[in-house]
């Protein structure tokens, strides 16, 4: 197995193509431009590959919905403001049970914000940012290796549950380089009965999200809800770091988790026992694992590059069984591990 040094954005593109993605539509926006560029360059070399630089983000999401309906493995990518534009299409894909991968390389918001790394789109990603009763699975990689692995896994999960899946990373993950190894993707499992390939002389098939009869629509909603229950039960992922003997646990994901690890390493040398709980799936949130931790740890610190969004999920998971502090750096500010270590040390020293 060969190690390669690639930037996060390029890794997502390469992993997608290796996983069999053959339809990509996207519209440029910093800090994910290198991904669109990579797909433009490499999709045409992949057999049957289609790359489209669409006229808008709205067009891109609808293009992948259409291609997905015909049975293609599909992906689109953008950054925060562009992802807002895609929400109607994501809701539509969830309603029509169309698999597809949507990549959000987050930047500072709200509004146009700035192009620095940020984590302000947690609510949008995990609550189903569009309208209606639906959920999207959300993977939050924290290393370039995870970007490669989870991108491949995202396609499989999308097919398995016939649902849109989001990769949620930030500008730093998109721009940084680390050595990685691409794993061999499993062959695709997606039955032809879900694809629109032309009825010929057979029976017509329909894929639609417009259900005018409320009884039909209600049943469809419950069907989706049952699917989300299965996902919640089987698909949560998290990393537990340094938790043995920890008397304070930081909860952080993605880039924030890396900064937290750096801070933990510094503080360990000063005898402070601090662990890290890192959700890898943000929806479904690894709620039960986190709650189980509260049996032995009573002090938690949520750290996000936002004003506090995952904080709500941590509160729901811990149900008041432990004390929760929060530290946030919104708007594209990225603290160094040394800066964050000062915050952690202050809270550690006045813990109960």
């Amino acid at each position: 197995m060969n190690k390669v040094l690639m930037s996060g954005n390029n890794i997502i593109g390469e992993a997608a193509i290796r996983a069999g993605c053959r339809f990509y539509a996207g519209y440029p926006i910093t800090p994910q431009n290198e991904l669109t560029e990579y797909m433009a360059e490499h999709m045409r070399k992949a057999e049957g590959g289609v790359f489209i630089q669409s006229e808008s983000e709205v067009a891109a999401i609808n293009m992948i919905a259409g291609a997905s309906a015909t049975g293609a493995r599909v992906m689109t990518s953008s950054s925060s403001p562009g992802i807002s534009l895609k929400q109607e299409g994501i809701s539509s894909m969830a309603a029509c049970e169309l698999p597809g991968v949507i990549v959000n390389i987050m930047r500072g918001g709200p509004g146009l914000g700035n192009i620095r790394p940020s984590q302000g789109d947690y609510f949008q990603a995990t609550r189903g940012g569009g309208h209606g009763d639906y959920r999207t699975m959300v993977f939050a990689p924290a290393t370039c290796q995870e970007l490669a692995d989870l991108t491949m896994d995202a396609f499989d999960a999308a097919d398995k549950y016939r649902t849109p899946v989001m990769i949620l990373a930030d500008g730093m993950m998109g721009q940084m380089m680390e050595p990685i190894i691409f794993k061999s993707p499993a062959p695709r499992v997606y039955p032809e009965k879900f694809m629109l390939r032309g009825a010929g002389s057979g029976k017509s098939k329909f894929i639609r999200g417009l259900l005018l009869d409320p009884i039909d629509a209600e049943e469809h909603n419950w069907k989706l809800a049952r699917k989300y229950e299965v996902i919640t039960e089987h698909e949560t992922l998290c990393e537990e770091h340094n938790l043995e003997e920890a008397d304070m646990v930081i909860v952080a994901y993605g880039t924030a988790a890396r900064i937290a690890k750096g801070a933990i390493k510094r503080l360990r040398d000063h005898g402070m026992k601090i662990g890290l709980f890192r959700p890898i799936t943000l929806w479904p949130f690894p709620e039960l694992k986190l709650r189980a931790l509260s049996a032995k740890v009573k002090n938690f610190l949520v750290f996000e590059m936002s004003t506090g969004q995952m904080l709500e999920d941590v509160r729901l998971a811990l149900q008041g069984y432990a004390h929760i502090d929060f530290h946030g750096r919104p708007g594209g500010a990225v603290p160094t591990p040394a800066e964050f270590a000062n915050v952690v040390a202050r809270l550690y020293n006045k813990r109960d």
């Binding site: 040094l5 620095r116 730093m172 380089m177 680390e178 990225v334 603290p335 040394a338 800066e339």
Partner: protein, 179 residues
């Protein structure tokens, strides 16, 4: 072992290439490594910088709190980053265009006229490789052989002349620093 270095200069000086080539050679040498470029609304002649972290174990944060090395290719880089460098850290200055010195007295400074050396070699664009020669000599993070191999991989082997001038530039920088 954990080494962090910041490379900084004007856009166009090949600062990001310095970081990429170092990161690649660290990977080839079997180390954990991260490379983080500063990105933004930049342009040729604007500022560019990147951070490379090299270690024996998993690297937590690609953002350097206290880099051990600063490689400054222009004066603004020196002023921006000298306060971040770790105590008793090492600073490499492109003395062809930087006449200033760090205001901190704990830093060890190596002045390398890499622009002039590159000009003597007939190609001012290899000033960055001259500086890498000096940096690798002093830091020893990777072997010169491994670095040159990575440089060739990154530049592509199509242009034979480029590889040749790069090797000469690297050797000139390497020899400029005395033991």
């Amino acid at each position: 072992m954990m080494t962090k270095a910041i490379f900084s200069g004007f856009g166009g000086q090949g600062v990001l290439m310095m970081g990429t080539s170092l990161a690649h050679s660290a990977m080839s040498s079997g180390y954990h490594v991260t490379y983080l470029p500063a990105y933004g609304a930049e342009m040729r002649g604007g500022t560019a910088n990147c951070t490379v972290a090299i270690g024996n174990e998993e690297i937590a944060s690609p953002v350097a709190s206290e880099p051990d090395y600063l490689i400054a290719m222009n004066s603004p880089s020196l002023f921006s980053f000298q306060t971040k460098v770790a105590a008793r850290g090492i600073v490499f200055l492109n003395s062809s265009i930087i006449s200033d010195r760090p205001s901190r007295s704990d830093l060890t400074v190596y002045s390398v006229p890499c622009g002039d050396i590159a000009q003597d070699l007939g190609n001012t664009r290899v000033a960055n490789v001259v500086m890498m020669g000096a940096f690798i000599k002093k830091s020893g993070v990777v072997t010169p052989e491994m670095y040159l191999k990575s440089l060739e991989t990154i530049m592509g082997s199509r242009k034979k002349g480029v590889a040749e001038v790069n090797r000469k530039a690297f050797a000139a920088g390497f020899d400029y620093i005395k033991d």
